[in-house]
Symmetry: D2
Subunit: 334 residues, 4 copies
């Protein structure tokens, strides 16, 4: 049994992580923590997320010094803000824990990136070097060896799973940048009071056009320029991305199907659609990324869906943990 | 043309009032104001409520002293917090304005009520005496003479429109308290950042059970005890109330239909259902209260619906203004 | 391993049953069937319910004669129309199967009931006698011996779980009928094309007032008259019931808490709220019934929530199966 | 007063048209008709659309021969299926009516188009010649002279309003086809029973990828190739289109703002966003098309929103009628 600590457990992702660890046959929750300043400190996780009542009734403990919580801990999930993860990851690594960070703090091996897009100066370029980007279907070999896994963001997971097989196999004419039109549920903004996320204010609309920091995350890992336009959707959970690409001359539907099959045919958490297109509802509450596509002439449209809190966060983190520790990849997830 | 001031115009009700006054052929907007401390001060109403872009593009002016805004003003709508209305109403009356207050500050002619349910000591018992409760279908004669009209709350409007004809005509056995089960859209909580109204947190649930201050407002004006159980619904606007009553022995469906017909047959903003039951969607965005009912033995179920922001607030305020100034009752509303 | 047949597997409840059986360590799916006339015959379950893609990819087989499907089958779940269950249950019993019927065909031991409320003449009064009503928390001893378990309807499960401890312990003054105000998600109407369930037509509204057949099911099993008013809600899944009762003189909050504790303190699928009230979202996708209550004077308001497709259908059926075969009560459910 | 006939009045668009005509000071409803075979024949419009109760309580009359309805009629709105409009338009023209057709039957002056995309052989190429495409902001001069106005489809209206100023002014590099990613509310599918539009089945998903017939309608009228990907959204009304284009070298944000200003600065039903982006909720129930945009390098993203039933159907039809008959363009609409 791996002793597991969930840091920043009060949010939507933290609750999902707690649920997964709780049902994992080889992991158990050592503690759930929140910032010492949090007004949620001392409350039961299940009082914030009553769906977990009777399932995970542990308290959210205030953490000011990690040393109070590292004793005997094997695994740490950081469901914390970027700056907090930036600071905590090296401390937990020093304490001998394997760290799965769900923030953006270690996703891009380029310290400048953080200055530009995250507004802080990265202090741990060595860890940027050693951190493994936890896009699980593509990084299994590295994940198995890693102590710091930077779990990808919600939008980047779907975008990369959709585009990487096409780009790696040279099927796209990248002089025309792929257009990623993405719509996310409101939970992507986190659990907090905010006017823009209040029930009466939410409706389908674009935001962060040309300025969202998931754009460089995607571009950096794909090694290709892309246009990324996120939208807020009027639903709590899920992401749907519609990606329009230009194919190289002569690329056929069969070739595309073949590269997807090669990439994901044996991957349990990516579901390929041979016909029809994914719909959002079919991934909500589930750990999958669903992918479908259509071709006309040199135009290709790929549609990818996932639950932003699951394959886009907690499920992928657990998938990485399963890979890291040699468990069945879908343990606790399906 | 009546010069009209809307105080507290930044909220959902304020926006609806502005829209109504704007389209009224005999009224025009003198100014829209917000508290001098409001972060919305100086913004355009249509920047907060973009549906009004191109319709009402006036600024929200900070008001610290009413005297800057009363010059030539005939009508004031107070879409302000209870305590603010409590303080402002006498000032605007002194300035010669006719005041329509949409808060609870002058709804119940009982100063104790405010201590108990609103948490402040009422300073203007004389105005409680002279204020007219603006339940428009029932108070037209008084409204015509009034200078201070206390527009009823959203839940009480539907509840009283449904119950008053039955009670006034002695059709109910009131030893068994009518059970008012009500569900309101989230806009009832106002335009503000709050975790409980955030998109991912909202779902159908009761709140304020046995403690909501609309319970004594309803009971006081009906002169009857009632049980009132409000719920938050997962929709932005609208109220549906399902009211279960016990009839006096021998009361028939025909008698009930007759008293409703007598009360509302000539009232343009109450729509009676001869068969079938009201559904929420049919009143959203409209100034009506819809009423349907069913009888079995001595049990009567009445269902009333309204848009909480309209017949439950802005539309009823405008209806009162139309009555007060001798305009067609539905002017600007339909 | 128990070989398990799911009859009528194409609907929402059928899909949930398939998911539960699939993950049950001691059960496996022998076949999924639909009516031989169904246009879904031959399709994969996961083509109708793509959330199950990669999880349950079995075909929906047309069944005209049960004998083609009973070979070696231990357990049958009937997720079929009332009349179909009425006809099939005795056939499967004769074939030696244990039958869990999710329709209304065997829920009330009174043949007249079916003539009056279901519109058909019941042909198997002997089975009405021997069938056990599968309200799992209350019928475990009988379920263990039964071969035909009539799983309760969605509304009746929540209503009875809320009221039965109060009534059995004599806490209610039943001369005033409990008022059950219930709101259900649209999935309660089944998976089919219908104008009234189309997306643009759905909004909160009452239906079947005084005429819904769950009223006599509830009253019959509670042994008490009740008023039951169902509503359609604008959400796909879940039921919330707000129940207003009159207490016997002198009954206290503590007594009520005690009888609930006694009834459900050791029951894993009923979650009691010591403070606060249940909200719909906390049971959606989960097998629980959540219960909270508030008291004022002689008035009691109980709120019960459940997922209509789970504790109100598939999860309770599986709970009954777990009880019947001696498995952990929550096996496959949590 | 213009006598006005609404044909096919039972649907969502028909109801909106009836509401507009009803409130128009210079038009009145002569009759509302449905197909003689319709099960809605004889019902009140307000029984199908209860929001109109007390507003438009006219019956839906079965029409088998138009001559029963043309006496004294000046204006006809056809809210009928494409094939029905195809057949009826010449009949109403022959009877001396001015015809506003909301179907696709006369939108593209190319008989082949109908064979290919609509599946019928067009019998009236002369009318295709004389029909005016009712994109109101662009065709006012022609509309004033026309007797047959083909009101554009919902998706094409927003797409063309967004793209036409850019293309006409040569700002786009059209060798890279504009990518139109559009999401529509479910009412776009019409008022009918269908499994795919049932409440529990609807969720965000693409449909008709590369095959939707609005693609050639848009391309034909813009004179440019485009990629059009429609999606179904989980909301009843509204369309949001996110359009990604490539600019000609050196085109600036200011130039784009200028061409939009030139095109729509004096147009009351197109609202330009100087900053920020349109959100769906701000056009629902309103006759506007809202347009915002952002530029980065050679990439331009334009976002356009409208209510699919209003600016995308009924409001634009009425706007065309206002133009045709010399009324204020927004009469009855704002």
């Amino acid at each position: 049994m791996l002793n597991t600590l969930i840091v920043g457990a009060s949010g939507y992702t933290g609750a999902e992580l707690a649920s997964y660890v709780n049902r994992h046959p080889h992991m158990n929750i050592t503690a759930l923590t929140v910032s010492a300043q949090s007004s949620d400190a001392g409350k039961l996780l299940s009082s914030l997320h009553p769906q977990l009542k009777g399932i995970v009734d542990l308290p959210l403990q205030p953490m000011s010094d990690i040393s109070e919580f590292t004793q005997g801990v094997d695994v740490v999930f950081l469901a914390t803000a970027h700056e907090v993860s930036h600071d905590l990851a090296p401390q937990f690594l020093a304490a001998g824990c394997v760290v799965f960070d769900l923030s953006g703090a270690y996703r891009v091996n380029n310290a400048e990136f953080y200055t530009q897009y995250y507004g802080f100066t990265h202090q741990h370029p060595d860890l940027l070097d050693s951190a493994v980007y936890g896009l699980a279907e593509w990084q299994a070999d590295k994940i198995k060896q890693a102590d710091l896994i930077a779990v990808p963001g919600c939008y980047p997971t779907a975008a990369q799973l959709a585009l990487k097989p096409l780009i790696d196999n040279g099927l796209l004419d990248l002089t025309q940048w792929p257009v990623i039109n993405a719509t996310s549920g409101v939970s992507g903004a986190g659990r907090k009071a905010s006017l823009s996320n209040s029930f009466c204010e939410v409706s389908l609309q674009p935001y962060g056009v040309f300025t969202h920091r998931h754009q460089p995350e995607i571009a950096s890992h794909l090694g290709a320029d892309i246009i990324f336009t996120p939208h807020l959707g009027n639903f709590p959970r899920g992401i749907l991305e519609t990606i329009t690409c230009r194919l190289q001359d002569g690329v056929t539907q069969q070739q595309i199907a073949a590269v997807y099959q090669q990439a994901y045919g044996d991957k349990p958490l990516v579901r390929l659609y041979e016909k029809g297109m994914p719909a959002l509802k079919n991934v909500v509450g589930l750990p999958f990324c669903d992918i479908g596509f259509a071709v006309q002439g040199q135009h290709l449209i790929v549609v990818a869906t996932e639950d932003n809190l699951l394959k886009g966060a907690a499920a992928q983190a657990m998938q990485c943990a399963n890979i890291r520790f040699g468990f069945t990849e879908t343990q606790a997830l399906i």
